[in-house]
C-alpha cells in the first residue's frame, strides 16, 4: 500500500531523470520548479503531527529497515524542498542561460539539486539507524555533486569537504555499530528503551560518536574549516540551497539521536571526572564558540560568498546551542532558527549571486555603489542582513531572542553574553557586506548595469516577504516547531501568533513591528513634511575634504574595513585551526612517506625476516606470559 510518504519519495525520485532531461530549456526548468511545487504539495499533505510510515520496508542483513517521517523530519523537509524550489526558480530564467553558455552543466545542476533533495528526504524520513546512515551518506555525497560543478577553486574546497564528510560519516558509522553491539538492534526504539540501562562508558561512546559525526556536517567548532569555501564556490542555486539547509542535517541528526533517542536524562549522566563539566555543558560552549569565531572570520573575508559561508557556520552555532539547552524556549529557538536562517541566507546568497551575475565578481573590494543600479537586489539584501544580524522586525530576531531568553532564564549569563558578542560581530560583518557591495562609490565599469532579471529578483523578494511575515507573526512557524519539539520528546513552546507567551517576559512581534513602523512613520513625517526640499545630486558627484572626487579614481573605503577593530583583534586570529589542519595533513604526509619507505626497501625480502622474527618473538613471549 503506497502511502503519502512513498508518493513524496517517488516524486522526488522521478524528478531526477526529469531534471536531467528538461534542465536545458527555459520552459523545462520552470517545469522543474513546478515539480518542486508538487513535492511541496505532497509534503504538505502529510500529517505532520503523527509519524507517516513508508510502505517501503524490508529486512536487510537481519535488520528491519524502514522509513517514516515525524514532525521533526517534516519540519526540516519543508525547509529543504522550499529552499530547493526557490533555488530552482532563481536559476530557471536568465541565470541558467548565461551560465549554461559559459559551460556549466545545467543537467548536472538540476539533477544534482534534486538528488540532494531526495537524499535529504531519505535522511529526514529515516526510521532506523540503517536508513539513517543510508540517508546520511547519500546526503554527504550528493552535496559533492553541487560543489564540484563550478570547477577551479571549488574542486579543492570539495576535496576538503569530502574528507571531512567521510570522517564524519565514519564516526557515525562507528556509533552505529557500537550501538548495535550495545543494544543488539538498530531500531530507534531499541536504543531509546535501552539507553537508561546502558553503562556510562557505552553511553559516552555512543553519544560522543554520533554527536561528533553529526557535528562535522554542522561544521561545529573544531570541524568548521571546510564549510564556507565548499558552499560558497558552488553555482548560485547550489550555493543558496546548500547554504540554507545542507548543514542543518547535522542538527537534525543531533536532535534525533542525542535528544530523542538517548534522551536528556541520559545525556545528563555523562559528566567528566568531576561533575563540573558534562557533555551538554561542553557542547553548549562548543556551540557558542562556533557562533563567535566563524563570525569574526567572516568579518575579514573579501569574497561576499565566503563571508556569507562563514556566517552560515556561525549561525549553526546558535541552532546547536538552542537544541542543546533543550528547554522549551531554547530548543524552539534553535529549531526556529533553522527555518529563519534558511530563508535569509537564501536571500543573501541569491542577492550576492545576482550581483555576480551582473558584475562578474564577488570581490568586496571591486564592487560598490550598486544601490541605484540594482535597487531590488539591494532591498533583498537589506532585509536579509537585518534577518541575519537578528534585528527586529525580521525573523532572525525572534529565534535569537528565544535563545537569549532561554539562556538567561536557565542561568547561563556567560553564554548569553557570548552569543550577543557573536550577534554584534554579525552586525559589523553584514554591514561591511552591504556597504562594500551596494553603498559607497559606484565603479565606472558598473555604471551601465541593470537590475537582475525578474526570474532572479522575484524569488528573492518572495523570500523577503517570508522573512518579514514570519518575523512579524512567528506563530505561523512556531506551531510546527512545537510539533517538532513534541516529536523529539521535549516540552512544546507556548506560542501565540506574535511570538511567545511567558510569565517572565514575553515577546509579541506584532506589537514590536507595529511600533517600529510607527516610529519610522513619525520619523518620515518629521523628515519629509518639515524643512526645506533637498537637492538630489548624481551618484558620481562627490567630494571629500572640499575636494572633488572624480569617478575614475577609486576612493571607496572597503579594504580592511574595520581597521581600528582589526588593529586590536588581529593578533587573536591565530589561525590555530588552519594550522592544526595543515599540521594534520603534513603529519599524514609524513606517515605516508614512512609507509612508502616501508614498501620501497632495497631488499623487500627483509620484511619476511623481520615479520617472522617479530611474530615468533611475540608467540614465545605470549606463551611465556
Amino acid at each position: 500500500m503506497i502511502g503519502a510518504l512513498d508518493m513524496l519519495l517517488l516524486a522526488a525520485l522521478a524528478a531526477i531523470p526529469l531534471s536531467a532531461l528538461f534542465a536545458t530549456t527555459r520552459s523545462g526548468r520552470w517545469l522543474l520548479v513546478a515539480a518542486y511545487a508538487v513535492q511541496f504539495g505532497l509534503l504538505i499533505m502529510l500529517q505532520p503531527a503523527t509519524a507517516a510510515h513508508s510502505a517501503l520496508s524490508f529486512q536487510l542483513l537481519g535488520n528491519a529497515v524502514g522509513w517514516q517521517m515525524d514532525a521533526l523530519g517534516w519540519y526540516f523537509a519543508v525547509i529543504t524542498i522550499g529552499s530547493a524550489g526557490f533555488a530552482a526558480a532563481y536559476a530557471a530564467g536568465e541565470w541558467s542561460e548565461v551560465n549554461g553558455r559559459l559551460g556549466l552543466s545545467l543537467r548536472w545542476l538540476y539533477a544534482g539539486l534534486q538528488i540532494n533533495v531526495l537524499a535529504m528526504l531519505l535522511l529526514l524520513a529515516s526510521g532506523d539507524f540503517v536508513s539513517l546512515f543510508i540517508g546520511w551518506e547519500l546526503t554527504s555525497w550528493a552535496g559533492l555533486i553541487l560543489m564540484l560543478l563550478a570547477g577551479g577553486d571549488a574542486i579543492r574546497a570539495s576535496l576538503r569537504y569530502i574528507v571531512y564528510a567521510i570522517a564524519g560519516g565514519m564516526t557515525v558509522f562507528a556509533g552505529l555499530v557500537i550501538t548495535q553491539a550495545a543494544v543488539g538492534s538498530l531500531q530507534f526504539d531499541a536504543l531509546h528503551a535501552a539507553a537508561p540501562s546502558l553503562g556510562t562508558g557505552r553511553l559516552w561512546a555512543i553519544a560522543l560518536l554520533f554527536i561528533l559525526g553529526f557535528s562535522v556536517k554542522m561544521a561545529s567548532m573544531p570541524f568548521h574549516l571546510w564549510q564556507a569555501p565548499a558552499y560558497a564556490y558552488s553555482p548560485a542555486p547550489g550555493s543558496s540551497f546548500l547554504g540554507s539547509i545542507s548543514a542543518r542535517m547535522g542538527l537534525f541528526g543531533i536532535a534525533l539521536v542525542a535528544i530523542k533517542l538517548i534522551g536528556l536524562a541520559q545525556l545528563d549522566r555523562l559528566s567528566l571526572v568531576t561533575d563540573l563539566v558534562d557533555l551538554r555543558g561542553l557542547l553548549t560552549w562548543v556551540a557558542v564558540f562556533t557562533a563567535i569565531l566563524p563570525t569574526f572570520v567572516a568579518m575579514r573575508q573579501n569574497d561576499a560568498r565566503l563571508l556569507l559561508g562563514w556566517h552560515g557556520v556561525g549561525q549553526g552555532g546558535y541552532m546547536l546551542l538552542g537544541v542543546i539547552i533543550a528547554d522549551r524556549l531554547g530548543s524552539a529557538g534553535g529549531l526556529l532558527h533553522v527555518f529563519n536562517h534558511a530563508t535569509y541566507q537564501a536571500i543573501l546568497l541569491m542577492a550576492v549571486f545576482a550581483v555576480i551575475h551582473r558584475t562578474g565578481t564577488a570581490d568586496l573590494n571591486r564592487l560598490g555603489g550598486l544601490v541605484t543600479r540594482m535597487p531590488l537586489t539591494f532591498l533583498a539584501m537589506l532585509i536579509g542582513i537585518i534577518g541575519l544580524a537578528g534585528l527586529p522586525p525580521m525573523n532572525g530576531f525572534v529565534s535569537k531572542w528565544m535563545i537569549y531568553r532561554a539562556l538567561i532564564v536557565d542561568g547561563h549569563p556567560l553564554l548569553f553574553v557570548a552569543t550577543v558578542i557573536s550577534t554584534l560581530g554579525t552586525v559589523l560583518s553584514v554591514y561591511k557586506l552591504l556597504h562594500n557591495t551596494f553603498l559607497g562609490q559606484l565603479r565606472l565599469e558598473h555604471e551601465q548595469i541593470h537590475e537582475a532579471p525578474w526570474s532572479m529578483t522575484v524569488p528573492m523578494l518572495l523570500l523577503c516577504v517570508v522573512v518579514f511575515v514570519t518575523g512579524a507573526a512567528p506563530g505561523l512557524v512556531l506551531q510546527y516547531v512545537a510539533a517538532a519539539q513534541q516529536a523529539i520528546g521535549l516540552e512544546p513552546v507556548r506560542y501565540i501568533l506574535g511570538g511567545i507567551e511567558s510569565p517572565t517576559g514575553s515577546l509579541d512581534m506584532l506589537w514590536i513591528t507595529a511600533i517600529l513602523f510607527a516610529g519610522f512613520g513619525i520619523g518620515a513625517v518629521l523628515f519629509y513634511l518639515i524643512g526645506g526640499r533637498s537637492r538630489r545630486v548624481h551618484q558620481l558627484d562627490n567630494y571629500a575634504g572640499g575636494h572633488f572626487l572624480t569617478a575614475d579614481v577609486r576612493y571607496q573605503y572597503s579594504d580592511n574595513f574595520y581597521a581600528g577593530l582589526m588593529h586590536r583583534i588581529r593578533p587573536w586570529y591565530r589561525g590555530s585551526f588552519e594550522w592544526t589542519e595543515s599540521a594534520l595533513v603534513s603529519a599524514l604526509g609524513a606517515a605516508s612517506t614512512l609507509a612508502r619507505g616501508f614498501f620501497e626497501q632495497a631488499n623487500p625480502a627483509q620484511w619476511v625476516l623481520v615479520g617472522t622474527t617479530v611474530i615468533m618473538t611475540w608467540v614465545m613471549w605470549y606463551a611465556l606470559g
Partner: protein, 156 residues
C-alpha cells in the same frame, strides 16, 4: 647421545635456513641471492626430512622377507621430493629473470636495479621522483660502477 644427534641435526637444518636467509638479505648481488635461496631451501627440506626420521629404521622400500621391519616415514620423503623440484623450478625462473635484469639495467646489484626500476616506473607514469637530485644526506647516489656497465652491453 640420541639427543645430541638430534640437536646436531636441528642445528644443521636451522643453520642452513638461517645462513640461506642471511645470504639473501645481506647480499646485494642478484645471483648470490638465488644461490642463498637454494641454501635456505635445503635447510627447510632437511627439517622436513627430519620430521620423518625414526631411530633404527630402514628406508621405506619393501624387500621380500623384510616386510615387518620398522621403516622411516615415507611421506616427508615424498614431500621433500616435491619441494626440491619446486625449488629447482623457482631457481631456474629466478636465473632467467636475473639474466634479463642484467641485460636491461647492466647491473647485478639489487640496489641499483631497484633504483632504476623505480625511476623507470616513475617516468612511465609521468611522476617526478619524490627525491631531489642532490639526494638526501647520508645516502648520496654513487656513480654506477663502470665495470658492470662495460660488461653489460648486449652487443658482444
Amino acid at each position: 647421545m640420541n639427543w645430541a644427534i638430534g640437536l646436531v641435526m636441528f642445528v644443521g637444518a636451522v643453520g642452513l635456513s638461517v645462513i640461506g636467509i642471511a645470504g639473501m638479505l645481506m647480499s646485494n648481488h642478484l645471483f648470490r641471492m638465488v644461490l642463498a635461496l637454494a641454501v635456505a631451501e635445503a635447510g627447510a627440506n632437511l627439517l622436513l626430512i627430519l620430521a620423518g626420521y625414526r631411530w633404527d629404521a630402514a628406508a621405506p622400500i619393501l624387500l621380500p622377507g623384510h616386510s615387518t621391519q620398522a621403516m622411516v616415514d615415507p611421506v616427508p620423503q615424498a614431500m621433500v621430493l616435491t619441494a626440491i623440484v619446486i625449488g629447482v623450478g623457482v631457481q631456474a625462473l629466478a636465473l632467467s629473470l636475473v639474466i634479463r635484469v642484467r641485460q636491461h639495467y647492466a647491473t647485478l646489484d639489487m640496489r641499483v636495479a631497484r633504483q632504476r626500476m623505480q625511476d623507470a616506473l616513475d617516468q612511465a607514469a609521468g611522476v617526478v621522483p619524490p627525491r631531489s637530485q642532490e639526494g638526501p644526506a647520508g645516502e648520496r647516489p654513487l656513480p654506477a660502477p663502470t665495470r658492470t656497465i662495460e660488461a653489460g652491453g648486449p652487443h658482444d
